[in-house]
Symmetry: C2
Subunit: 332 residues, 2 copies
């Protein structure tokens, strides 16, 4: 199993199983991204929300709630909340990274301006808090407000860790846990909480989301060096933005003097010339950094699947397990 | 009364009356703006939080709670929440406006970068939601998450209304209600709610905060054309940023053809030459736009004071009334 599942597309299988709920989530999202007074808001948001993202995070919330036997209405609100937080962070990330493309389309900051991206992101954050408030669960509020703080913390840490060759694997993991895994684990955890699941199950859902998120981000960082363009990533973005991601950290750790000088020039000093990206990729290959990074992504996917064993044995649990395989299958 | 009160400095009188609470708020703010993993966060936040702002908004929350006889601990959390939301919006505003100065000091986006301002702002928003969650009041959560959405909406509306000479006084009021009054009214309202005050009193506190906020912003917009530098404002910022504030809206409404052409050139097309700011101010004076704007600011301050009459007659109520006078006294 694992990498052989590519043709099945597990996220589509999950989307089919959750079809009525996902329709309700999309309706709620469209309803709540509206603004009576500022039409710019739904314009910008629609550009991103309708852009064919996989709705992976809201699906995780819906699936977690269903896996715990939930039959109330609030997993819909929570799934929309999670998607709003995700969309808000994408808008702000694209400003911070000065990105021009997202999912193969021009970014909002390019189509409108940075100002709109910052303020519409703020609007979506606020709307996400309104939505979660409607669920009347203080535990849910704690988890999601905590996750939002952790996301921002991870992004700021990434900012200061970038361009710094002293960034090691521990710092990298902390950044990844913040900027990506915090929302994955909150998404799955609140699904269990809203269903009133046993604390042990809630913890298992958290651990699944956490490991899945770490795996997801490591794969993303790997695709930034070996993607094909089909994945919607621009190969070399992280290198140009001088981010210390896992492949580079591994190669820097094994660098000889000449190689280290190359990393200092391109990452620390930001002096990048023609051919430097190709040279960087050659160094990653020379030191097995891409292969080792791939192994770590697979390890985290296995951890995610292992966490699921404490959940009731249902079709939904099986699908969540396949999602973990799918995340790493993007590497093919 | 009114403008004669300048020497008393009512916000200092209120600060003295609320001294122990304000100390507790400052301690809580310092505690919660910390970050275990990302030292950049407290650096940026401290620059702004310690910059000698008047803590007007948190004082409003404390005063509202005390005016309603509250003796619990949560008005401290709410006051810190309100200051965090305010600080987050300042950080994002300075990015959006590309400001270089705030309260007479260089802005965070200048000292660090736009990225840090965006992400640290996000962190403070998230922390504010964590703080308010601790108060365990769903009504408080509704009010503050709603206010956050209204603030962002007002900022986006301002973005699209800028550079557009069709912006009228109704749109201006909507922008002001969003970007400024929403947080003032939420600040006073949650003080009443946490104290368990009668809905009539809560409504009065809302109306006071709303009118005070509108008055405050109109004064701010006026000082942008007739400030002295002592007020910490750079005269002409709004003109350079092509914002349609009340004085300009009033002058545009009375413009003859030549004057209209001037506004089209400077505000709509953004072609500003030496002497244009001085010419703009001359036009504002010619059409009594500054005087009329001042009258509106005074009217709103009176509305704020009138709203207070339903509150119990206490020293704190008197001080809140004096704050309304003080806000417009900045005009002298």
């Amino acid at each position: 199993m694992g990498l052989d599942n590519v043709t099945v597309k597990p996220h589509e299988k999950l989307a089919t199983a959750l079809a009525p709920e996902l329709t309700a989530v999309n309706t709620l999202i469209r309803e709540r991204m509206a603004s009576k007074h500022a039409p710019r808001i739904p314009e910008v948001t629609a550009h991103l929300v309708e852009a064919g993202g996989k709705r992976l995070r809201p699906m995780l919330t819906l699936a977690a709630a269903k896996a715990c036997g939930y039959d109330g209405p609030y997993h819909i609100h929570l799934a929309a909340t999670v998607e709003f937080i995700h969309t808000a962070t994408l808008l702000h990330d694209d400003v911070v990274d000065e990105s021009a493309k997202r999912r193969g389309r021009p970014t909002a900051n390019l189509l409108w301006d940075n100002k709109s991206s910052v303020l519409v992101g703020d609007y979506l954050f606020a709307r996400s808090f309104q939505l979660m408030t409607e669920c009347n669960s203080m535990q849910v509020m704690h988890i999601l407000s905590g996750a939002s703080a952790t996301i921002a913390e991870g992004e700021v840490l990434q900012l200061t860790a970038a361009q710094d060759l002293a960034t090691d694997e521990a710092i990298y993991l902390q950044v990844v846990r913040g900027k990506t895994a915090a929302l994955f684990s909150a998404a799955t955890k609140v699904g269990g909480v809203i269903a009133g699941a046993d604390p042990k199950i809630v913890q298992a859902l958290h651990d699944y989301g956490d490991a899945l998120g770490v795996s997801f981000q490591i794969v993303d960082d790997l695709l930034d060096y070996e993607g094909t363009g089909e994945t919607g990533k621009n190969v070399g973005d992280d290198f140009r933005e001088r981010k210390l991601t896992l492949p580079v950290i591994k190669a820097v750790a094994k660098a000889d003097d000449a190689e280290r000088a190359f990393w200092v020039k391109t990452i620390e000093k930001g002096k990048q010339d023609d051919g430097d990206l190709e040279h960087a990729i050659a160094l990653l290959k020379k030191h097995d950094a891409l292969t080792e990074t791939r192994v770590e992504a697979l390890d985290w996917a296995e951890k995610a699947k292992a966490a699921l064993t404490s959940l009731p044995d249902t079709d939904i649990r099986q699908m969540l397990s396949e999602i973990a395989d799918y995340v790493v299958a993007r590497l093919r």
